[in-house]
Amino acid sequence: MTLRVLVVDDEPALCISLAAYLEDEGMRVHTAASGEEALALVVAGLRVDACILDMRLPGIDGNQLALELHRRLPGARCLIHTGSSCYHLPQALRRIGIGDQHVFAKPLPDLGVLAAAVRRRCDE
């Protein structure tokens, strides 16, 4: 089964290269440049198995987006890909099943790590 992944990042170049990698890994990838855009896709009927979320986003931030996505797509698993190295996972996110092992700091020297995490996350 092809995994469906939503990548949300306001850096287009990051979005594109992450999507490219995951596609090469055989996943089906959608991208959004903001939380609002991501939610609009979901409202429009997009269904995914996993979401990779940047934290610092224009409009609603990654934490809020994760909660919102969880509410609307309970089956979708969230992973966090953030540029801030002092990111602390809020309790609200822990409660919906996101753990420290799902948090990845940019820059990742090997995206294979993230791809593997997506697969594991979807097997949970």
């Binding site: 992450l18 990698y21 596609e23 801030s84 190295s85 002092c86 700091a105 820059p107």
Partner: protein, 530 residues
């Protein structure tokens, strides 16, 4: 009786001449006439005043009872000596002795004794001059001098008095301690002679005296014991009229200068810390773009990915030829270069973040000895260190004197600091002259509420300029690409800001370097969390 008659005659000798009488009655000094055995025959009014005896009480008695006890024994001896040998001790000359009054009190006096030989008469005349007042003045002067010296010696500064010519007139204890020159030796010597490193100050002394104003010179660097110390020199001209000179105060302000340097250092760190937190995110994103782009580039150029093979086949591209081309043109090397560059930049950002990320939340009771041992184990396995230096070649000396090595600290952070110091030391010894056996000493001591760790190497050491900048962010002596220049500044930050301790460095070029780390055993109230 002949003897009595003789005696009466002798007395007359002293009294019959009215002019002599007038003189004896009116001179200010006590005049006493005696015979050759010391028996008093004449005692003038001034002598009565001085000793408190009336003349009739003393005439006929041996004069020695007028001398203080310590002189009485010698008294007979003087006259006999003189008569026997002609050797003069008092007679014909004079000396200072102590007299004894009727009331038993003693007083200093100058006694001169003359010999009288006149027309068959032989006797001696003593003139006694009261020195009490002079002595009192002298004692007061001495007391005043001692008090002044005492005041000067009690000052924590070097204080020296100089005259117009720049010669030393006063010299205090600290001056002796700091120059090794005693007060007597310093007296009268040229200022520049006693303080060769301050020879330029001689002109300042002249200026202060001529212009009658205080001249201050601050933070003068002077070498001492192979180190550089800083002094403030103040020249105060003497303000009393008719006296031309100056008091010079020299204060060792090295500690203050160092504290100020440290404070500037800390400020720099904090600004870097604040900057780092904001910068990190901004830098990590573009780094991510480069890293991810580079990885995709590698993957999509390889012949292993099925998607690549499909796309190549559709375009009629031979991937094997592409591989050969890339090999020939060194494309992979460039890609590897990009990856390394990203890794390095990532490391720098992570180090910078160490400033802002640290809090006291991870403080826990720890054993300092265990921390040191863990650090040494880590250093032994450290890859960076192995690359250019074999840590096993270093002789490790553990010099531990601790009653308790327990402290509250961020274990990981302190380990990071210790590892940094140990690695630096090992690398420095690796670079240094190889004739010496490399030795790393870890000295652990207690110092009131602190635990002190000294990391001492016998490497090439560093000069003053390097030592001054060693904690500065981005300052490094290592080849480009090897050090981020942040290791020691992060260490400094961890110790001073996070743990409220101190980190210092001492070094003598050619002899080695010593880093001194002080960590409080207990953290005060965890201010960072409040």
């Amino acid at each position: 009786m002949k003897e009595d008659q003789n005696k009466a005659q002798r007395i007359r000798f002293w009294t019959e001449d009215a002019r002599v009488q007038a003189i004896l009655a009116n001179v200010a000094d006590g005049v006493i006439g005696i015979d050759h055995q010391g028996v008093i025959e004449m005692f003038n009014p001034a002598a009565e005043q001085l000793f408190g005896y009336r003349a009739d009480e003393v005439i006929g008695r041996n004069v020695k009872f007028l001398a203080a006890p310590e002189y009485q024994a010698d008294h007979d001896q003087y006259i006999r000596n003189y008569l026997d040998s002609g050797q003069r001790k008092v007679i014909g000359i004079g000396r200072e002795v102590r007299g004894l009054r009727k009331d038993g009190s003693e007083f200093p006096m100058y006694l001169s004794v003359g010999e009288l030989k006149h027309d068959g008469f032989h006797g001696f005349v003593g003139i006694t001059h009261d020195l009490s007042e002079l002595h009192q003045t002298r004692d007061e002067l001495e007391r005043a001098r001692r008090l002044m010296q005492n005041i000067l010696d009690s000052m924590p500064s070097v204080i020296v008095g100089v005259d117009r010519q720049g010669c030393i007139t006063h010299w205090n204890k600290i001056a002796t301690e700091q120059t090794g020159i005693g007060a007597e030796q310093a007296q009268g010597r040229a200022f520049a002679d006693c303080f060769p490193f301050l020879h330029r100050q001689v002109a300042q002394i002249e200026r202060a005296i001529d212009e009658r104003r205080v001249v201050a010179s601050q933070r003068l660097a002077v070498p001492r014991d192979g180190d550089v110390r800083y002094v403030d020199v103040m020249v105060y001209p003497l303000v009393t009229n008719g006296i031309s000179g100056a008091a010079v105060r020299i204060d060792d302000v090295s500690e203050r200068v160092r504290m100020e340097d440290m404070m500037i250092q800390t400020e720099k760190m904090l600004s870097v810390g604040g900057l780092a937190a904001g910068m990190a995110h901004e830098i990590n994103n573009p780094l991510g773009i480069i890293a991810q782009g580079c990885q995709n580039l590698s993957r999509r150029l390889s012949d292993e990915l099925p998607q690549n093979r499909e796309a190549a086949a559709a375009l009629g591209l031979d991937l094997a030829v592409l591989q050969a081309y890339m090999e020939q043109r060194g494309i992979h090397r460039f890609l590897a270069g990009i990856r390394e560059g990203v890794e390095r930049a990532t490391r720098i950002v992570a180090d910078m973040l160490a400033y802002s990320r640290r809090s006291s939340s991870s403080f826990e009771p720890s054993s300092l000895v265990e921390l040191v041992e863990a650090t040494l184990r880590l250093a032994g396995h450290d890859y960076d260190l192995k690359k250019d230096y074999d840590f096993r070649r270093v002789r490790i000396v553990r010099d531990i004197e601790l009653a308790s090595d327990q402290l509250l600290c961020d274990r990981v952070a302190v380990e990071q600091v210790l590892l940094n110091l140990v690695k630096n030391a090992a690398q420095a010894m690796g670079r240094g002259a190889s004739q010496r056996e490399p030795q790393l000493t870890l000295r652990l001591r207690e110092e009131q509420e602190y635990l002190r760790v000294e990391v001492i190497d016998n490497g090439p050491g560093m000069d003053a300029a390097t030592r001054k900048r060693v904690f500065e962010p981005f300052y490094t002596t290592k080849p480009v690409g090897e050090g981020t220049g942040l290791g020691l500044s992060v260490a400094y930050f961890i110790i001073t800001e996070q743990h409220r301790g101190t980190l210092q460095v001492e070094s003598i070029p050619g002899q080695g370097t010593r880093f001194i780390l002080r960590l409080p055993r207990q953290q005060l109230a965890q201010a960072a969390e409040a």
